[in-house]
């Protein structure tokens, strides 16, 4: 039993080689024994037959093992075919895996973009402003000449296409700079004008000083379009917006 167990664990090659070694040793022993008995003329019955029996047994074993080895050779061929098939399947699976990865990447990108879109939609929904509000605000800005100067603007005219100092202070930048000191307030362009820092040539006649002059300087149909309110009115802008929208509509009807 022990021999069988060991034989089962050993490879066929090892077993074949060991049986072949046994055969070699046994055949040599038999021949030597025969030669010895022949030269000494002393027949030794028993021992040679024992060796002969062993030799025959080993030879039979060797042939059986060769049979087994041949069968294993056939199985080996089958295994090689199977290995090739496994390799082919592996490459197929890898190809599929690659495609799936690609698909995953595309889907992940799409999901990310969709989420970003949803976020911006949500943001827009939260900060929604009515169009009327925007138009009102636009009116307010244009009424104070903050965007565009009147056509008849000349140097020294305090109506200006830029924010006043006061407006700058009330804005975000003003808050950031923490310009809370009220003393700086004095340096308005209008004040510079009042202090006579501008050349004399420019000081005498300003269109806003008298409404008659201003109307006279402008082409008749443009007269009221530029709403020549005194700049001091800027603080009451909200009222101005209402006033201006009605003014402009009435003025256009007037000019017709």
């Amino acid at each position: 039993k022990k021999v069988n167990m060991a034989a089962a664990e050993k490879s066929t090659k090892e077993r074949l080689l060991s049986v072949l070694d046994d055969l070699e040793v046994l055949s040599r022993e038999l021949i030597e024994m025969l030669a010895l008995s022949r030269s000494q003329k002393m027949p030794q019955p028993g021992e040679d037959t024992q060796i002969l029996e062993l030799l025959v047994q080993r030879d039979k074993e060797f042939q059986e093992l060769m049979e087994v080895a041949q069968q294993q050779g056939k199985v080996h061929q089958e295994m090689q075919l199977l290995e090739k098939e496994v390799e082919k399947r592996d490459s197929d699976i890898q190809q599929l895996q690659k495609q799936l990865k690609e698909a995953e990447h595309i889907l992940a990108t799409a999901v990310y973009q969709a989420k970003e879109k949803l976020k911006s939609i949500e943001r827009a929904r939260k900060g929604s402003i009515s169009s009327e509000e925007i138009i009102k605000y636009a009116h307010r800005i244009s009424a104070s000449n903050a965007v565009c100067a009147p056509l008849n603007w000349v140097p020294g005219d305090p109506r200006r296409p830029y924010p006043t100092d006061l407006e700058m202070r009330s804005g975000m930048l003003g808050h950031m700079a923490n310009l809370s000191t009220n003393g700086v307030n004095g340096h308005l362009p209008g004040d510079a004008l009042a202090a006579g820092r501008l050349p004399d040539v420019l000081t005498p006649h300003y269109p806003w000083q008298s409404s008659d002059v201003s109307v006279g300087m402008l082409p008749p149909h443009h007269g009221n379009d530029f709403g020549l309110e005194p700049p001091g009115h800027n603080k009451e802008n909200e009222d101005d917006v209402e006033a201006m929208s009605t003014d402009s509509s009435s003025s256009s009807s007037d000019s017709d």
């Binding site: 490879s11 055949s27 030669a35 030879d59 042939q63 060769m66 199985v75 496994v86 399947r89």
Partner: protein, 99 residues
Amino acid sequence: MATAQAKLDKESDDCSLLPLVHDIIKCMDKDNQDVLQELGKLKAKIQEAREQISNMPGIDSSPLEQQQQLATLREQVRTKNQLLQKYKSLCMFDVPKAS
């Protein structure tokens, strides 16, 4: 490959060493001088068999181990086939090529 197989067949057909041993004993009985030649034949035959054995494919394991390996390989092919079948039966989309 075919020649190797033929050689193997031939080897297994007359792999017995007994005829050669028998020839040697016969020569010794007759006090024939050919005994050395016969001994040389036996030696050559054994050497040839050794080479043959070391060149035989698939005998590096016992038949039992080999059967286990074969079963493992068959199982692998079966599993991989199943996996591929499963993937192929999935709903696939046409991947648009990035332009």
